[in-house]
């Protein structure tokens, strides 16, 4: 992972194939690698996401969306986790 790709939301002009995007945009069944967390995230929430497995390079997969819309179930590493869009929007991933 290049340093410029970590922790920022910018996609590199010459890296179209590895554009960083938000976790919310992962479609059902799609996987990606965690690129970082939005810097605007509250520190307590960052810590909690890290404790739950959202560390750089961890593999995350969108399992399913709950009935009635939100929230969405993701598999991050070995853990199944359910997040609302407001939170999954703060996670930056590089989709496969």
């Amino acid at each position: 992972m290049r340093p410029e790709e970590r922790g920022t939301g910018a996609s590199m002009t010459d890296e179209v194939t590895t554009a960083v995007t938000r976790l919310t945009s992962l479609r059902r069944g799609a996987t990606g690698r965690v690129a970082g967390l939005d810097p605007a995230l509250a520190p307590a929430v960052r810590r909690r996401l890290a404790d739950l497995g959202f560390v750089v390079d961890a593999e995350v997969c969108c399992l399913r969306r709950a009935p009635l819309g939100s929230p969405t179930v993701f598999r991050i590493g070995e853990t199944d986790l359910c997040l609302r869009p407001s939170l999954s929007n703060q996670v930056l991933v590089v989709p496969r």
């Binding site: 909690r48 390079d57 399992l63 709950a66 070995e78 359910c82």
Partner: protein, 639 residues
């Protein structure tokens, strides 16, 4: 786990070892295995969290083991976790820093939970790791070498298979020789990158192969979290849950009530002194019976909740309901808390501790008392039986059942409504975005389910035994004294009792309060009942029973139907008319009458402001809506 009054601090002499671990890792199971039945629950002095501790011993040596709340990390995010962090740092008054730590780690989520292990090691305390779910790891195609893991971490690693209790003996032996635990030569790095690298190297040395995806869980979740089938199953589970209240628990309650009535009559027949006989019959036996009548329902509901949680379904329910809860500004976790309140609001309110945001906690806590709890059930049963004829039906369904259901729905809907209001006014904004771990489906052990039923049931019994018994005795005294022996000479028994009651202290109090409730149609006798319900709602039925001088205070229906007003413009008219009963029912749906709930709200929100606000607001709401209900009923139902 709940207790409503502080108990003396458990002794901290000797060695204190604390167990930490993330939720869903089998930590409580390990704790239960190690301590057996020798567990005591107490409140942290001055703090609001229940602390569970027990003793581990092999006859010769002994250590105190403290079960700390589940925590994903030692950097706290929720109040529960703050307790863990404070306890480990020795910041809790009266709680010494533990001498050693036991870290429970789930082998199927090892990479993630190594973070907690590294934080535990960084506290500097001697640590040992308990590795659970290794059987599940193998089943899913993973593997780990515990000895190599121990060498890599530098601390002892013991394997325990929870539901078989395998490995507990070795763990106990190791625990009792904690001074001999190895410690790591170098501590794991603190920064995120370094920790990740450290975790990778540890897992490599431990020859860790991660488990494959939980296929059985995935297949089940295809159904249970399916947009259509998931909701269907959810509706079925909820229906079954509530059916146990009406179909299973209510008859059981009836039998217990009858048993105690019989016991009461037996005792009264044997005792000569009439005052003492009455005391034993109505106050003591009636009071105790009043408590025990609740036990089947509470036990059943706690059992179902423990089962659903142990299996892993409650987190799915929280996910399914999150969208609905979001409409009121709450989240999925609040649903689970409110569901627990159907058994008793006290554990429901206490379960908000796992919520990371204090704003969410407060919103959920404040609306929990509106959920129809077990204590309201005897009141509903009595009044509905008097209001609706047993035979009447609406289509294939019994009318009485429908009215009961309507009362429950009213409570739940009101809770959501008040939550919306709070979110729009007092508790606007703030809050931590919702996240929830979905553990794989597991078969819970009988032991863990049993523990989750036995502990709250025991505390419920103890709490209500003291408060309800106390309230019943006080009420009995207020209704029996002054004895008016002179004035009642020459009257027959029934007349004498009625006279004494009419001129008792209770009557004085009731009449003083009467103007407040007069527009609702309540007379002083109902008012005395309402005041007694402040101790505990269950007492209302017993009080009415005594007021009506019922033969059987636990089943006063017949006597109450015959009660007539004694004064005012309607003197001589039946007291329990349809509008009055409807008003009384609606009043009970809303009024926050229970002192235990108020006390719990105070403890969990750390101030008197919120319980006071809730008491006054819900009381006013209850009065207004009861009046509205009365007006509507008077207009609809012919007198």
């Amino acid at each position: 786990m709940s207790t409503c009054h502080a108990e003396p601090t458990v002794t901290t002499d000797g060695t204190n070892i604390a167990i930490v671990g993330a939720p869903n890792t089998g930590k409580s199971s390990v704790f239960n295995h190690l301590t057996g039945l020798r567990v005591r629950t107490a409140n942290y002095p001055g703090v609001t969290v229940t602390r569970t501790s027990g003793q581990v011993s092999d006859g010769a040596r002994r250590v105190n083991l403290v079960d700390l709340p589940g925590a994903y990390g030692l950097d706290p995010v929720s109040p529960d976790e703050k307790i863990v962090a404070d306890h480990l740092a020795g910041r809790l008054p009266g709680e010494p820093v533990p001498d050693a730590l036991l870290v429970v780690v789930d082998a199927t989520t090892l990479r993630r939970t190594l973070g907690l292990v590294s934080q535990a090691q960084r506290t500097g305390l001697p640590c040992a790791v308990v590795l659970t779910m290794t059987d599940e790891l193998c089943r899913r195609g993973g593997a780990v070498d515990p000895e190599a893991l121990s060498a890599a971490l530098g601390v002892p690693v013991l394997v325990v298979i929870g539901h078989r209790g395998r490995g507990v003996g070795a763990l106990r032996a190791s625990l009792l020789t904690w001074t001999e635990w190895a410690s790591p030569v170098i501590l794991p790095p603190e920064d995120e990158e370094g920790r990740a690298a450290w975790a990778t190297s540890v897992l490599d040395r431990a020859r860790y192969r991660p488990a494959g995806p939980p296929q059985a869980t995935d297949r089940i979740d295809q159904v249970l979290l399916h947009p259509v089938w998931g909701l269907v199953v959810f509706a079925a589970v909820m229906t079954a849950f509530f059916q146990t209240i009406f179909v299973v628990a209510a008859p059981l309650q009836g039998w217990i009530g009858t048993l105690f009535a019989w016991l009461g009559r037996l005792a009264a027949a044997d005792i000569d002194q009439p005052v003492v006989a009455d005391f034993v019959n109505s106050a003591l036996i009636g009071g105790v019976g009043g408590v025990l009548v609740f036990l089947p329902q509470i036990v059943l509901l706690f059992f179902l909740l423990a089962l659903l949680e142990g299996v892993g379904y409650l987190s799915r329910a929280a996910v399914l309901m999150d969208r609905v809860m979001a409409l009121s500004g709450l989240d999925g976790r609040a649903f689970v808390s409110m569901l627990s309140s159907v058994a008793c609001a006290v554990p429901g309110i206490m379960s908000t501790r796992t919520m990371p945001s204090s704003r969410d906690r407060l919103a959920t806590m404040l609306v929990n008392p509106l959920m129809p709890c077990s204590a309201r059930l005897p009141v509903y049963v009595l009044l509905v039986a008097m209001l609706v004829p047993a035979e009447s039906t609406v289509g294939p369904l019994r009318a009485q059942g429908l009215v009961m259901l309507a009362l429950y729905v009213l409570g739940a809907a009101s809770a959501m409504g008040v939550a919306s209001l709070l979110s729009a006014t007092l508790l606007r904004g703030g809050g931590v975005p919702f996240y929830l771990e979905l553990p794989p489906y597991r078969v819970p052990t009988l032991r863990s389910v049993g523990g989750q039923v036995w502990t709250p049931a025991k505390h419920f019994l103890r709490k209500t035994g003291t408060i309800i018994l106390g309230a019943t005795v006080v009420l009995w005294a207020l209704m029996t004294f002054p004895t008016r022996a002179v004035e009642t000479e020459g009257m027959d028994d029934a007349q004498a009792t009625a006279y004494v009651l009419d001129h008792s202290y209770a009557a004085d109090i009731g009449r003083a309060v009467e103007p407040v409730f007069e527009p609702l149609g309540f007379d002083w006798r109902i008012d005395v009942g309402l005041l007694s319900a402040i101790a505990a709602r269950e007492v209302f039925v017993a009080t009415l029973g005594q007021v009506a001088a019922a033969e059987d205070p636990a089943d006063p229906q017949a006597a109450l139907e015959g009660l007539a007003r004694t004064s005012g413009q309607d003197a001589g008219q039946p007291l329990f008319t349809a509008p009055t009963m409807v008003a009384l029912l609606v009043f009970f749906v809303y009024a926050l009458l229970c002192t235990s709930t108020l006390a719990t709200l105070r403890r969990e929100s750390n101030s008197w402001r919120w319980p006071a606000l809730a008491f006054v607001t819900y009381g006013a709401l209850a009065w207004v809506l009861a009046w509205v209900a009365r007006m509507i009923t008077t207009a609809i139902v012919p007198p």
